[in-house]
């Protein structure tokens, strides 16, 4: 397992990219990031349109930044000041696209052979055998991509990219559409392959589940910028940006005004918009009167049918259940306390409390379940 920040070794990928693109009928898209990717898996996380794929295209050489510098190991692949722009063919950067882009007219084996031109035939065959075995797809050699199932297609796309022994691997949501178990099995094989090689792997995703499952380092992006870097816990549990909070699955995103700061207790009180509802949240960079946003996970809120006493939780808010919606094994309660909260309950809890729409309810929020986020 890599440590946070990773080891700064010779195989590291570093990219500083500035790129502006005109968009019809709206403000131009601006990508302006600087990232460092050490050996091991780093997740590039952010909502759709954050610029993740464009960044990968720049690293692979398929898109050209207006300015910046991209370095893999010791070699500069792109340097706008020095006038360096290595073509994608010469970068030795493997790139697995979301659509995989397997050549439909070639068998799985021919696909894997494709990147190995100009190598003695025996060595080629040995390499292909080895990688097909590493990704458990030897039996599919002769099949065309259309005759292969989804998860196995993804394995072949990985094998095709990695057989060339690249120095960096870029993955653009390659496992979307697979169930968690299949995904985990493929990632395990990828990790196993990488234990000996130790190359940087940049894995793009916009879903929270994948961040949790792959967990090592996360770089969070939004609107063309890096907004957070760290372990999945650090980045996702306390998101500092509103849009990231949305992507990370914070169901309650509330805006409010700071009433006062209690530095000694490390807390401040926030009055939620258009209500008399006041909650206590951890102290943040704000002054009384500032507008702030608070993110709370629906699963972090407790619901009681009578007013609770003698609790350590500082926020107890009275409200009325507006709706109870069952979604599989989860009940989503909408509770109006002046502002509407979303609370996740289990069907069992709903039964034992005998909850129904229109009932009075008290919501209990721990101070540290309330996360301050930026716009």
């Amino acid at each position: 397992m890599d440590t946070v920040g990773g080891e700064l070794n010779a195989s590291m990928l570093a990219a500083r990219v500035h790129l502006q693109r005109a968009r019809a009928g709206s403000i131009p898209f601006l990508l302006d990031v600087s990232i460092q990717v050490p050996a091991g898996i780093t997740i590039l996380f952010g909502p759709s349109g954050a610029g993740k794929s464009t960044l990968l295209d720049c690293i692979a050489g398929l898109a050209r930044p207006d300015a910046g510098r991209i370095v893999a190991g010791e070699e500069a692949l792109f340097d706008s000041q020095a006038g360096v722009n290595c073509p994608p063919q010469a970068r030795r950067i493997a790139y697995v696209f979301q659509t995989l882009a397997l050549f439909p007219h070639m068998s799985a084996e021919e696909n894997v052979y494709y990147g190995l031109d100009g190598m003695p035939p025996r060595e080629r065959a040995a390499r292909v055998d080895e990688i097909l075995k590493a990704f458990r797809v030897e039996k599919l050699r002769a099949r065309k991509p259309a005759e292969i199932s989804g998860g196995e297609r993804q394995r072949i796309a990985l094998a095709r990219s990695l057989v060339t022994q690249p120095r960096v691997l870029l993955l653009d949501e390659p496992l979307s559409g697979l169930d968690a178990e299949l995904k985990a099995a493929i990632v395990d094989d990828l990790r196993a392959w990488n234990t000996a090689r130790r190359i940087p792997i940049l894995y793009v995703t916009h879903t929270r589940e994948e961040v949790d499952a792959l967990g090592e380092r996360v770089i969070a992006m939004d609107r063309g910028r890096v907004i957070s870097t760290g372990t999945p816990m650090e980045v996702l549990e306390a998101p500092r940006h509103k849009r990231l909070a949305q992507a990370a699955g914070f169901e309650n995103l509330l805006s409010g005004t700071v009433v006062d700061l209690r530095e000694a207790d490390g807390v401040m009180r926030v009055r939620l918009n258009e209500s008399h509802c006041e909650i206590e949240v951890p102290l943040g960079y704000a002054a009384a009167g500032d507008r702030v946003h608070v993110a709370i996970r629906a699963g972090d809120i407790l619901l009681a049918t009578s007013q609770p006493h003698d609790l350590s939780a500082r926020n107890i808010i009275e409200g009325k259940i507006v709706a109870l919606e069952t979604r599989g094994t989860l009940v989503r309660a909408r509770v109006n306390c002046g502002v509407e909260f979303i609370v996740h309950l289990t069907p069992g809890a709903v039964r034992s409390l005998d909850l129904a729409e229109g009932f009075r309810a008290w919501l209990v929020l721990k101070t540290h379940s309330c996360h301050l986020v930026e716009e």
Binding site: L62, P88, Q89, A90, F103, P104, H105, A146
Partner: protein, 230 residues
């Protein structure tokens, strides 16, 4: 049967030349980012809308003893171009150009760009990408291009009449021959020739659709035809 053999020879030459020249031209038209590309696209499509006599007229003028093509040919080969088989080939190549190039462009353009990106990051240069990815995935378009330019050349009339005239064994093609017979009220002869042409056209189109099914099933793509553009 002289006329039929001549037409077949002409059609073979023309489709071979159009295939060889059409591939790079279509590649460039499909992938170039040049701003003025639309001009060349218009030039390539021109024979589709131009009356054959207009095209034939200008080609004839260019091939004449005072035209640039005619002078050039005279210097290198010692004879003119007008009313010769070579002249007829050249005129037919121009006339059938869109029938070869447009299906090629359409099938090149419909190759998924991500496949080209994948090929590039796997280290392949544009020549390898063309031979190993673009070309195999464009087989239906290539078949269409060859077949259409062949069939179109077999049946052409106006351009041949303008540029080639009506010299037996040199420039008298099937369609001119049919016209001749009708002019001389030899309806039986005209009918025989017309039937041959009809049979060839039908066979050619059946072949195109059969290939379309077969290859389309294999690579999951459909053939481009001018009457069912994809």
């Amino acid at each position: 049967m002289d006329a039929l053999l001549l037409s077949l020879r002409l059609a073979l030459c023309v489709s071979a030349i159009l295939l060889a020249g059409g591939l790079p031209l279509a590649y460039w038209l499909a992938y170039s980012n040049w701003r003025g590309k639309f001009l060349l696209e218009a030039v390539v499509a021109l024979p589709l809308v131009l009356p054959p006599t207009v095209l034939g007229f200008y080609v004839l003028v260019a091939m004449g003893p005072h035209g640039p093509l005619g002078k050039f040919w005279q210097t290198f080969f010692g004879h003119g171009l007008a009313f010769t088989f070579e002249g007829l080939v050249l005129a037919s190549v121009l006339y059938s150009l869109p029938f070869a190039v447009q299906p090629l462009i359409a099938s090149f353009e419909s190759v998924d760009r991500k496949l080209l990106d994948a090929s590039a990051v796997l280290g392949a240069g544009s020549l390898k990408t063309f031979w190993r990815v673009i070309l195999p995935l464009s087989i239906p378009g290539i078949v269409t291009a060859v077949v259409l330019s062949f069939a179109h050349t077999m049946g052409e009339f106006g351009v041949v009449l303008m540029v080639g005239g009506n010299l037996a064994g040199v420039t008298r093609t099937v369609s001119i021959d049919i016209y001749d017979h009708v002019q001389s009220l030899e309806y039986a002869d005209a009918n025989r020739m017309a039937l041959v042409l009809l049979a060839i056209s039908f066979a050619v189109l059946s072949f195109v659709y059969a290939v379309n099914r077969q290859v389309g099933r294999q690579i999951g793509r459909r053939l481009w035809t001018p009457w069912a553009a994809n």
